[in-house]
């Protein structure tokens, strides 16, 4: 009784509108609620839409359209594919219970069944059940339901299971029969052509697809073919056009729904040492994606973290990179709607992880320790990192050669791959020389792209340079040749890698070393530090004790000739100040009580660029 009185009391004082709304809903039929839900969806109130649909479902759990709307909601707006599949399956069962199994002869039931099959194929595709998705699409086709999407979907599924030729045949046959269906088919056809090396045809088809999508106005999705054409341009080393396509794609409404254009743009920029711009493309994507409040972006977070880790790594922030990679490798990632597979992603992550740990060890080499305990801790960390780095590179090589069709990703700028091609030598160097040489020879034989050949040759040269004897004079010559033949800005990262390999085989302190290392530092200030190589500097006003610390911190003291870079140590107000000059212009300084207190921070200032602020997330 007391409870009843309390409830009555509550009902009288709780917001009247809310109660009215609740009461009003309880008196409505499932269909009324469904139509109200559609209005809410149209006005962008998606959670209200979901709540309303769920109310309708409770009202009538047998209402097939409610199930289908919920399936569509979870598929399109939320990305919860299991729930989408569950509702679709429920819809299918109700359909069978109420109208019997197909075929159906009334328009209404046919429409219901065709929608169910469409939802079924999409949900299954997103859950990586390609066989099931293909079954649904083929049933749709078999029953002769009208749907211009069906051929392209079938081709896409075939592409995912590596039946490329079959996919091309299906689309070409459909285009012969229905030339008007070009819009739906062209995008997939463009990708398929590029996969079999018909790049000219691919660009042509994708260009037509872009125009077609633009012509559809607000309903068009031009960002997808724009991204695909960008990938083709990237593949044939026309970076300007490629970046332009990605940029156009990201500026379109549908371009910010998917991560690929932004990601591709970031990867191009990284290969050109344009790290801040690369990060900007990721920031822009995230800002744009924030307009989808129902999705937490879990499907692309791992990819973003992988790219961010690379940016941080190139800029000398190995700790941030390792943290990002750790999280990236533990995240879930769906690949149903993109060409990349889980193995492509794993190979890329392991490869970067292995490199990051190597770089971390190179950094630790230059760390100044203030106690024996600290020194021992660092040594242990170095051993652990070495082991882990070996392990991750081994795993990367294993996946590339075993799970990805005998290292098919070696094909430079493979569209499905997330490998960082300019630095891939780090991973490939782990193969036996003969194995790598033979594999590369095979790739060179079938790859007609001249710029790609330089990448292949670079991998071999870098492997030799890293070997015990450095490959000898012939390899030095080869490295020099490759460096001078690469494009200045577009191949900047690969060029840097080659210069570092060359420096590795140059006597420390020699004139060639002084010249080359200064040039590398000029190109990118973290490169030497990441490779564990020293930067030559002139010194002035430095005591022998201070000099000892500076030498250990990654600097090569050379006063025999005038160099571009100089370090001086001064004392002001009982504080040591260590200064770094470029052509007598002060670039960085660090102040502190003693040299050992400030030397690590000073080294970081000289060699690293902190792109990501450290804070609580």
């Amino acid at each position: 009784m007391l409870r009843f009185i309390l409830v009555i009391y509550a009902l009288t004082i709780i917001n009247a509108n809310f109660l009215l709304a609740q009461n009003a809903d309880t008196n409505k039929s499932a269909m009324e609620l469904l139509y109200e839900a559609y209005d809410l969806q149209a006005s962008g109130r998606l959670i209200d839409y979901r709540t309303k649909l769920q109310q309708a479902l409770k009202k009538d759990p047998k209402e097939i359209r409610v199930h289908m709307s919920l399936a569509d909601y979870y598929l399109r707006h939320v990305g919860h594919f299991r729930l989408a599949l569950k509702y679709t399956k429920a819809a299918e069962r109700i359909l069978y219970e109420e109208y019997g199994p197909p075929p159906y002869y009334y328009r209404y039931t046919q429409a219901l069944h065709s929608d169910t099959l469409s939802l079924l194929s999409q949900s299954r595709l997103n859950l990586d059940d390609y066989k099931g998705a293909l079954k649904a699409v083929r049933e749709f086709k078999k029953l002769g339901y009208p749907g211009d999407w069906v051929t392209s979907s079938e081709a896409w599924i075939l592409l995912k299971i590596n039946r490329v030729e079959e996919a091309i045949n299906i689309i070409e046959a459909d285009l012969k029969k229905n030339p008007d269906n070009f819009g739906n088919n062209s995008n997939v056809l463009g990708i398929l052509y590029s996969m079999v090396g018909k790049r000219k045809e691919s660009i042509e088809v994708l260009n037509r697809s872009i125009n077609h999508e633009f012509s559809r106005g607000i309903t068009g999705n031009p960002a997808t073919p724009l991204n695909n054409i960008g990938e083709v341009y990237k593949e044939i080393f026309i970076e300007d056009k490629s970046e332009e396509s990605f940029l156009r794609a990201t500026k379109l409404p549908d371009g910010c729904e998917h991560v690929l254009p932004s990601l591709n743009m970031a990867l191009i920029r990284i290969s050109q040492l344009r790290f801040l711009e690369a990060e900007q493309s990721l920031i822009n994507f995230e800002a744009c994606f924030a307009q989808y409040p129902l999705r937490n972006g879990e499907e692309h977070k791992a990819l973003l973290q992988l790219v961010r880790a690379r940016i941080a790594l190139h800029n000398g922030d190995a700790d941030y990179a390792l943290k990002e990679l750790q999280i990236a490798s533990s995240r879930q990632q769906w690949f149903g709607k993109i060409g990349t597979t889980v193995n492509d992603f794993r190979a890329a992550t392991y490869s970067t992880f292995g490199r990051a740990l190597k770089i971390k060890n190179n950094h630790l080499k230059f760390k100044i320790h203030n106690s024996v305990a600290e020194f021992l801790k660092t040594q242990l960390e170095i051993i652990e990192n070495k082991f882990k780095s070996y392990w991750f590179n081994r795993r990367a090589r294993q996946i590339l050669s075993e799970d990805l069709n005998y290292f098919e990703d070696l094909y430079i700028r493979h569209t499905d791959s997330f490998l960082e091609y300019p630095t891939l030598a780090d991973t490939t160097s782990g193969f036996r020389a003969q194995t790598l040489r033979k594999r590369i020879l095979k790739e060179i034989a079938k790859d007609d792209r001249a710029p790609a050949r330089k990448f292949y040759e670079s991998y071999l040269a870098i492997q030799k340079a890293k070997s015990l004897f450095g490959g000898g004079a012939e390899n030095i010559k080869k490295l020099n040749e490759l460096i001078s033949s690469l494009r200045h800005k577009k191949d900047a990262l690969l060029k840097l890698e080659l210069m570092l390999a060359l420096l590795l085989n140059t006597k420390e302190g020699s004139n060639r070393y002084l010249e080359l290392s200064s040039k590398i530092y000029e190109e990118h200030k973290s490169a030497l530090y990441n490779a564990g190589l020293k930067l030559p500097v002139n010194t002035s006003n430095i005591t022998a004790r201070d000099l000892k610390f500076i030498k250990k911190a990654g600097f090569l003291i050379s006063n025999k000739s005038e160099l571009n870079y100089k370090i001086s140590v001064t004392t002001t107000k009982n504080k040591k100040v260590i200064n770094f000059y470029k052509n007598n212009r002060l670039l960085y300084l660090e102040k502190g009580a003693s040299i050992e207190e400030i030397i690590n921070d000073f080294r970081d200032k000289v060699f690293t660029k902190i792109i990501y602020k450290k804070g609580i997330n």
């Binding site: 009391y9 979901r50 299991r82 599949l85 859950l127 099931g132 409040p293 999705r295």
Partner: protein, 725 residues
């Protein structure tokens, strides 16, 4: 292998190595077929044992293994020189094969060498255990700053078992302790150090074994007791990040000493039932539980409920309602369904709740489920400009309550100093936030020394500026009050909406939070929170997206309304709830483990019934009888020979251990025991022993009880098969 104890050691060792391989593989995929590695490890352990029986020196064993590795390397180098076909990727295939072979070889070498050392030197047992433990601790938790409560594996297991994270860690530790105990027990009581003097052969007496077991179990119990008692309060009261859920007037739910204890364990799921696009704190969302506003001495405590009518202080299972505050503009209604996963004393919701109603909870997974109907803030930051702080309708005592200044005048002085260049109160408030954001160092262990009556915030603000949310919120509140801004500290949860999905927010222990609030006319209590730029200790754990997905599926009304067999023949749905073990099932699991231990114990005690040779049967029976006599406190005296012992415990002038003579014969002559003879002996033995036991001067119930306990004690089984007769 000569006796059962040896077999047991071998099996246990194999199990440990298999578990190691499995654990490494699940943490970081090895990439080579795991069954092959299992077989290799068994073979390696066996080879190690066999090698230990030879006269091979350590140097020889290591050299042999080294050559094995080098030879493999040379072999593959030579194979690579062969003119293999480039077209069919022969070199790559060879590399793949080499990769797997080296992994298998490495596994073999590790198992073989370690087993050789194990069987050769007693100390290896301890070195191995220590090295293994360090390796695993490092592998599992180094990336989480050795916080076991933050491990994915722990939180996943806790979730699957439906247990508290701490309980899960304790169970894992218990299992680990038990395995280690049995391993050490068996390892130390064997004749495995062949070729050494008898001194190295350690053979514990039953008393020693029992004492060791008691000491080890006692130590473990003490450890767990202390650990659990220390944390249990926290488990119950949700002290996480220093934020408790105390609702008593006059006390503070906040802890200034340490913010440790926050783990990634899921505590609740909030499902927003409507769009909340006007959230002024986007991407953050705050769920308030309590507010502390009364200045009692040098600390803020929970005030009488009339001061904070917008704070419900209601148990999640209780009903709460209040009138809407029509003085507030820019508020809109929002329904939230809250599914509590761990015990909570107070219901929380987005500021401020109009009603809290308990919902039907038919899922054993949730502790309670309620719906909160709130009037949530719906203003843009620009609305805060040009508004007065405080409420003109407040009575004098309300004003005084929220403006009560801290007795330490340094708060006011610092606030004034920091804000001297600003005119409006809002600008001043922002200046304080900016100062704290830039200067504070986030740490969960500030390590400030303070007595009970001291102000715990002062060492942070006027000291090293190291602290966590509790310190930040108090410092802001004290400084705000020093400037005449009515403020208080709120507690509850803070979450990042960008990690939510479909309006579902997964709250974790890590999300416990305290923040400052200030009252702005027409807007109500507004959050003023900081996120320091400098971080000292923080292990980031992103929301478990898979768990969130699972929960969304579980909470979806379709879960109840849709047929349960939809997953049949549907690969995308088939593995759902694969590991969904409910709490109730845990008891069953424990029961099964006890039953299995009992069965194993029973088999070991009665091992003489197994199809063994006649002499082994006899030895095992003798061993069983000896161990059983111990439970009746009949022990062989120190220095007493078996023969004398037999004479001393004669019953009805008959030997109860006839087999002693037979055993003597077996050992010291070529006597062959026939099966028939053995069978007869065993039969007689049993009858006579039964008679002996029944005539002991003890009550029958006591004898029965002792017999039951004899079978229940798992050590007895090991003692029977492990005894050196």
């Amino acid at each position: 292998m000569s006796n059962i104890r040896e077999v047991l050691i071998f099996i246990l060792r194999v199990i440990i190595f298999l578990a190691l391989i499995k654990a490494i593989d699940s943490f970081e995929t090895i990439g080579t077929n795991i069954t092959l590695l299992f077989i290799t490890s068994i073979f390696g352990i066996w080879a190690g044992r066999k090698t230990s029986e030879t006269n091979y020196s350590i140097k020889k064993v290591l050299t042999l293994n080294f050559f094995l590795i080098i030879l493999t390397y040379i072999l593959f180098w030579a194979l690579n020189l062969l003119p293999l076909s480039v077209e069919s990727y022969s070199h790559l295939k060879l590399a793949i094969f080499e990769n797997h072979l080296t992994t298998i070889l490495a596994t073999f070498v590790i198992c073989q060498v370690s087993s050789f050392f194990y069987y050769k030197f007693a100390v290896t047992t301890y070195i191995e255990l220590l090295a293994g433990t360090i390796f695993f601790l490092n592998l599992l938790s180094a990336h989480r700053n050795y916080r076991f409560d933050l491990l994915n594996i722990v939180s996943e297991l806790a979730w699957k078992l439906g247990l508290e994270q701490l309980t899960t860690i304790i169970i894992i530790a218990a299992v680990f302790f038990l395995i280690v105990f049995f391993y050490l027990l068996l390892s130390s009581a064997t004749e495995r150090f062949k070729g050494k003097s008898d001194k190295t052969v350690s053979s514990f007496s039953p008393i020693q074994i029992s004492l060791s077991a008691i000491v080890l179990v006692g130590l473990y119990a003490l450890l767990i007791n202390n650990l659990y008692n220390y944390h249990y309060v926290e488990v119950l009261s949700k002290i996480r990040n220093g934020v408790n859920d105390e609702a008593k007037e006059g006390v503070s739910p906040l802890n200034f000493h340490s913010g440790l204890g926050g783990s990634s364990q899921a505590t609740a799921v909030v499902r927003l039932e409507g769009d909340y696009t006007t959230n002024p704190y986007t991407p953050l969302i705050y769920f308030r539980e309590t507010a502390v506003s009364k200045l009692a001495g040098k600390q803020l405590v929970i005030a009488n409920s009339r001061f904070n009518p917008d704070v419900n202080l209601t148990h999640p299972e209780s009903f709460f309602t209040q009138k809407q505050d029509f003085n507030l503009d820019f508020r809109e209604p929002l329904n939230q369904s809250i599914f509590i996963l761990t015990s909570h004393k107070i219901a929380f919701s987005v500021d401020y709740p109009i009603s809290i109603v308990k919902l039907k909870n038919d899922k054993t997974r949730f502790k309670s489920v309620y719906r909160a109907y709130s009037m949530v803030p719906a203003f843009s930051p620009s609305e805060m400009e040009n508004r007065e702080f405080g409420n003109p309708n407040w009575s004098l005592d309300l004003k005084e309550h929220f403006l009560a200044k801290h007795p330490d005048t340094r708060y006011e002085s610092l606030a004034k100093e920091l804000t001297k260049d600003y005119d409006t109160k809002l600008e001043k408030a922002r200046a304080i936030l900016e100062y704290l954001t830039n200067k504070s160092i986030y740490t969960l262990q500030p390590g400030h020394e303070s007595k009970i009556d001291d102000d715990p915030v002062a060492p942070y603000l006027f000291g090293d500026l190291r602290g966590y949310c509790v310190h930040f919120a108090h410092a802001i509140t004290y400084m705000f009050r020093g400037l005449g801004i009515p403020s208080r500290v709120a507690t509850g949860y803070m979450s990042d909406l960008s990690q939510s999905k479909d309006g579902h927010i997964l709250l974790r222990m890590n999300d416990r939070h305290a923040w400052a609030e200030a009252y702005i006319d027409k807007l109500g209590w507004i959050v003023f929170d900081i996120q320091p730029k400098q971080v000292e200790s923080h292990a980031e754990t992103p929301v478990d997206a898979e768990l969130l997905d699972e929960l969304i599926g579980m909470l979806d009304p379709g879960e109840e309304l849709l047929p349960q067999d939809l997953g049949r023949d549907e690969p995308g749905l088939s593995d759902e709830n694969e590991f969904n073990i409910k709490t109730a099932n845990l008891l069953k699991i424990i029961l099964w483990i006890i039953v299995l231990v009992l069965i194993l114990n029973f088999i070991l005690i009665n091992a003489y019934k197994l199809p063994l040779s006649a002499d082994k049967k006899l030895k095992l029976l003798y061993s069983k009888l000896l161990v059983k006599l111990q439970s009746f406190n009949i022990l062989r005296k120190e220095g007493e020979s078996f023969a004398n012992f037999k004479i001393r415990i004669k019953f009805n002038e008959k030997d109860i251990f006839k087999e002693i003579e037979i055993l003597d014969k077996l050992y010291y002559s070529n006597y062959q025991l026939s099966d028939k003879e053995s069978l007869g002996l065993l039969k007689d033995e049993k009858i006579e022993f039964k008679g002996f036991v029944s005539n002991l001067e003890e009550k029958k119930w006591l004898r029965v009880l002792k017999t039951i306990l004899f079978y229940l004690n798992p050590v007895n089984g090991i003692k029977v098969v492990g005894r050196k007769v």
